[in-house]
């Protein structure tokens, strides 16, 4: 990936339709060796980008899913204490007296459980490290991440500092259920992933739902785009558009009509309050509007 165009193309080859701005951010992140921080609504393709990037680069993808209370033991490394205990008991039973040697053995690589961050640093081929939904982790973990992201190094007290064999490409995502601290963002390249325009969404459907008829795809995209302009608790993301198209294909829908939309609305809208707003009348109205848009 030596230029923005090439980045765009290789991502496309991996099945990800990126706009030029995103391709620029990805390209720069690789060239400058900075992590890429992707923020945006759920279902706009943040995680998907990391997967596509790994595929395009031919590198392994190592994924760390964040959750509240995620700590070093879950993210970086953990000692296999049970195994250590067993080793002690065996040494005792065998009457081995060399305490120092035993202690040394106990805290060696054999008893170390590697979690995603350490895996990414020690990967013999450079990896793509995806730190997914960072907003779900809590602040103490963010603070820890600072060291990892700036030095690509972790410290294990018993073993010392462990640096990266090959610097991994790092992608962080956030659904923005809370603000991530600026200190993290300052170390990264920032990109806000927005909903795609109609043209690009159509392109995405071509790639992700290849069997769909062109006419149906157009109607679907127009309908979803119209839906996003409405005042909803949760607007449908690209993931929903793809799912919906596939659902319609399974149901052998050739063209959108109020009945087929009404029965599959749950694929698009995930809040009961949103779904409840669309009675038959509203769906028909929305269909008329979007069809005139698609034509």
């Amino acid at each position: 990936m030596n230029s923005i165009e090439q980045t765009e193309e290789s991502l496309a080859a991996a099945g990800y339709v990126a706009d030029r701005r995103l391709a620029t951010a990805v390209f720069l992140s690789l060239k400058l060796g900075r992590p890429l921080f992707l923020e945006g609504e759920a279902g706009v393709g943040k995680t998907e980008l990391a997967k596509a990037l790994a595929q395009a680069l031919g590198r392994p993808l190592i994924r760390l899913q964040c959750y509240e209370g995620l700590d070093i033991a879950g993210a970086v490394y953990e000692w296999n204490v049970q195994k250590q205990m067993t080793a002690i008991r065996i040494a005792e039973a065998a009457g081995e007296a060399n305490r120092e040697a035993l202690e040394h053995d106990l805290f060696s690589a054999e008893y170390l459980i590697r979690r995603p961050i350490l895996q990414a640093l020690q990967s013999p081929t450079p990896a793509v490290l995806l730190i997914d939904e960072l907003d779900r982790a809590d602040e103490p973990f963010e603070a820890y991440l600072l060291e990892v992201l700036s030095d690509f190094q972790v410290t294990i007290p018993e073993l010392g500092a462990i640096g990266a064999i090959e610097t991994p490409a790092v992608v962080l995502t956030s659904n923005r259920t809370r603000e991530i601290h600026d200190a993290i963002k300052r170390r990264c390249l920032y990109h806000w992933v927005d909903y795609p325009g109609a043209e690009r969404e159509l392109e995405i459907l071509r790639v992700k739902a290849p069997g769909a008829a062109q006419a149906l795809s157009r109607e679907v995209v127009a309908f979803v785009q119209r839906l996003r302009a409405m005042d909803l608790y949760k607007a449908p993301g690209v993931a929903e558009t793809i799912d919906w198209t596939r659902a319609l294909m399974v149901l052998d829908t050739v063209s959108l009509d109020p009945a087929s939309v009404g029965s599959t609305l749950g694929v698009l809208l995930k809040y009961q309050d949103d779904i409840a707003r669309f009675g038959e009348e509203e769906v028909a109205q929305l269909l008329r509007e979007s069809k005139s848009l698609a034509a």
Binding site: R21, F27, L28, E39, Y67, G69, V81, T177, R178, Y190
Partner: protein, 378 residues
Amino acid sequence: MRLAQNVVLFARVLRASGIPIGADKTVDAVRAMPLTGLERREDWHATLCALFLTRHEQQAIFDEAFDRFWRDPGLEERMRAALLPKVEGRTPRSEAGGRLAEALAPSRAAPPPRESPPEVTVDTTLTFSASERLRGVDFEKMTSQEWDQARELVARLRLPVEDVRTRRMRAARHGGTVDLLATLRAMGRSGGEVTRIERRERSLRAPPLVILCDISGSMHRYTRMFLHFAHALERSRPRVSTLLFGTRLTNVTRPLRDRDVDEALARVAACVPDWAGGTRIAECLREFNRRWARRLLAQNATVLLVTDGLERDDVGLLAAEMRHLERSAHRVVWLNPLLRYAGFTPVASGIAAMRPHVDAFLPMHNVASLADLAKELS
């Protein structure tokens, strides 16, 4: 290198308009230049966006600054544009305008006028909106005695918000679960003997707090006092967000975070357009639920709702939005100043609609007599 200077200048303009940019990012921008090339303006825009932005909201200000700064084709013009932004007949009026004008203004005054002092043109169109906002409301400063009283009270305030158990562990004396790793370490220290079983338990922490404060006319007497309270809260505990609503919803978390309370309240006053006006509780709650709830209510947030609940418009919508709020928050606590009247019963339709959806319904003066204090001061 001229372009490098321009990048530095541009970063300075952005910094002055409130987008924090580290020196390392400026260096990166200079490094990125040969990589992305300058043939396409949109690429340069994308490059600087990726490097300089840290929040989506900064985009509007950034775009406007970018448009002005990198408008002229020649480098020298760009340079001069940074020092002397030309104000043409029609300047784009947007919310970013005021801050940007402020940011560009000092850079106009700042350059050392060695050769020929640059002509300072006053950008009247852009400063107008800023002063218009400032005219809105001016907070009276409290006397120091009153402030001491208030601060004392605020210090004694105990919020009816319990700590929540997190998923993070900490060492425990009794109870909890056995901490194998710590036990093993202790064994190592004592030469292989199990001297005690180390234990750990889940730690407690104060949940995030979201303050939703009504600033409409009927709440006017309590607002100032409560803002002092909110200021103290924001400074004393982590993860507090404050939003004000009257006819519109405004997030004042950042302006309120200023160390000096008078400074903080002045900032708040400057960014709130609808002091002591009407109320549209339902509409504002709706906006909160749609725009902010998912960002602020994660991780067991507690909502402190400060309003008298006197909604006149849409009671049906109010009930629906309250239901939504109740479901997305860990706890909803309603502080209602009207409750200080003995014999007050919630019969107003708005109150009746909201009442079932809160976990606690408290008079403000129960939280350390905030209401009484407000009466004394007004």
